[in-house]
Symmetry: C2
Subunit: 363 residues, 2 copies
Amino acid sequence: MRWPRKWGSKLSKPSRTVVAKPTVNDIARVAGVSLATVDRVLNERPGVRSVTIRKVQAAIDQLGYVRDTAAANLARQKTYRFVFVLPDWKGQFLASLEQGIAETILNAPQNRTEVRTIRVPNHDHTQLAATLGALEPSKVDGLAIMAKETPLIRDAIADLRKRGIPVVSLVTDQPNSDRDHFVGIDNIAAGRTAGRLLGRFTGGQRGKVVVVITNKQSRDMIERRHGFDQVVGADFPNLDPLPSVEGQEDPAHTEQVTLRALRENPDAIGIYSVGASVQGIARAIAAAGLPHRPVLVDHELTENSAALLRAGVVDAVITQNTGHLARSAMRVLRAKCDKTPVIESQENIRIEIVIRENLPSMK
Amino acid sequence: MRWPRKWGSKLSKPSRTVVAKPTVNDIARVAGVSLATVDRVLNERPGVRSVTIRKVQAAIDQLGYVRDTAAANLARQKTYRFVFVLPDWKGQFLASLEQGIAETILNAPQNRTEVRTIRVPNHDHTQLAATLGALEPSKVDGLAIMAKETPLIRDAIADLRKRGIPVVSLVTDQPNSDRDHFVGIDNIAAGRTAGRLLGRFTGGQRGKVVVVITNKQSRDMIERRHGFDQVVGADFPNLDPLPSVEGQEDPAHTEQVTLRALRENPDAIGIYSVGASVQGIARAIAAAGLPHRPVLVDHELTENSAALLRAGVVDAVITQNTGHLARSAMRVLRAKCDKTPVIESQENIRIEIVIRENLPSMK
DNA sequence: CTGAAAGCGCTTACAG
DNA sequence: CTGAAAGCGCTTACAG
């Protein structure tokens, strides 16, 4: 039985000297320099003559060297110190995200990553900007931020990047900032998915659809509603989606506005919860005493939405895996720190559809 | 800003001496032995007096030591050599799985894992058993196998395990063998998911459902069909699922049997493809000239099924991520080699639902 | 601008 | 049954 060479056909060019697995020592030997110099070139450290750099580069290319990150980190005794800034909402989605972050650390200590999670009131741009401003490059190696898009935050992110701290936006994007990466789903596509499911599940009936949203400013919310309207407008003329009512991250308030909407539209056949408290909506449905159970499509799988799926109150949940979000954010930040390429296909967060039958057994 | 101690409240007991991050050197010092002895105890190597073992164990517990696997692997110069045995079908699912395996290796060379994939005719139990029998413990560190469940294979797996090679079953389980782990989805739940979607998508109409299966012996197929019948039987009395017709892993044959089924049941309102060639089914639908387009639910997202989703021929695809399957199999095998615990929550392969709107942008 | 040596946390022969 | 020393692939002060 023959084992594949690590550096097989895909990587080797005809002229390449193939060593089983070239190391820094091989480079040093071939280039005729010391280990320290190889290291300087490898890590783009200053103070090397360009002739020397070229010699080392040539050796690297010739040997097809690939750095052993694990060994590098071991030697460097480097621990990546990341800060995650999240809204201070009390919902289960954020709790799950925070847990995902904690578990990532616990499960993979060999990644030498430490994380500090900061919850900041999302409406308070000033405090948020101040929090970001206080991050020191000497103490922080990367930032993941989930926040509304505002000029203040945009500038704070630009400032951080200028100070050399990589930044990824999380869950909701900051496309106009120069964040390094967005870790999250395509929210327009998520809204389209919700639209299609609600359209199919209502089975061609004619009727109104109540739309409950957290707030009308958050980019992810806007994008989802937009995608939803695209699909319903194009393919389900029988459905009449109403203007969004705002639940404001508060179950009681969500219940209240949903109940009012249902009372005003007792013939509603569907409810689209764009990101609101599904508990509040469920209570409103119970209180409204509708003639028929409306089809309910929600976002973000939590204990609450899972229980309501099982109970048959919620029909489908569009969700993103919080563990994946956490791990992806850390992988991307580590890659940025190491100036290593991000493997896009691996960082593509999926839009998941959950119904009662494919509920994960454990969270 | 204070950074969390790696060994914080969750892990430390009151009596524990907390070192920032204890290493083998700390253990050696506390236990009053040499590094070599610590290593022996850590790796359960023979030739240590039980008193010594106890001393070392005490130090380990006291310090709350967690082994640095990366450093261990570096020192060990260990590469894990795994064999993946797959059926020799030509379908895209297996191609994608094979690609997922290859990409896992390319993307994470620091895992020091090498994989050899062997395609074996699935119907030929003897050849399969011979292939497994030829695996030498000195050259193979783990096996992942996707194959029909037969006594011959069961025995071959037991034999491998006896020779010290960890085995995981992949995609379709071998529950009666003593494989270490099953990497794949719950196929009964996958079938239930298909049943629910087909039921909802047909919107309460009365009619027959054509069921096309690869073969009636494969465990994953049997389980899916079973789950499907459970849900349809319980919640969709309007639907009448027909006995399965077998496509035999062959598009042309699948087309033929599906076409026959559709001709015999021109009033069929749905088709459930349990694992058959969706291309063949699509061609049969086109050829049948049905009065209404049937709802079509399929398994395994491939280029073909994605194209048919986009074209509106397929309504939903139930799938499992081949990259996850590959990575999970390798993580589990590595854990078994290292006698390290498997993190169950991370290895739980999700049953994914894909419709046109949440199709991944790239495969 | 460059190099020799020590060390990261762990394992492996080799002695004893 | 136990230990001293070298080494895995890389980085880091410290000299020069």
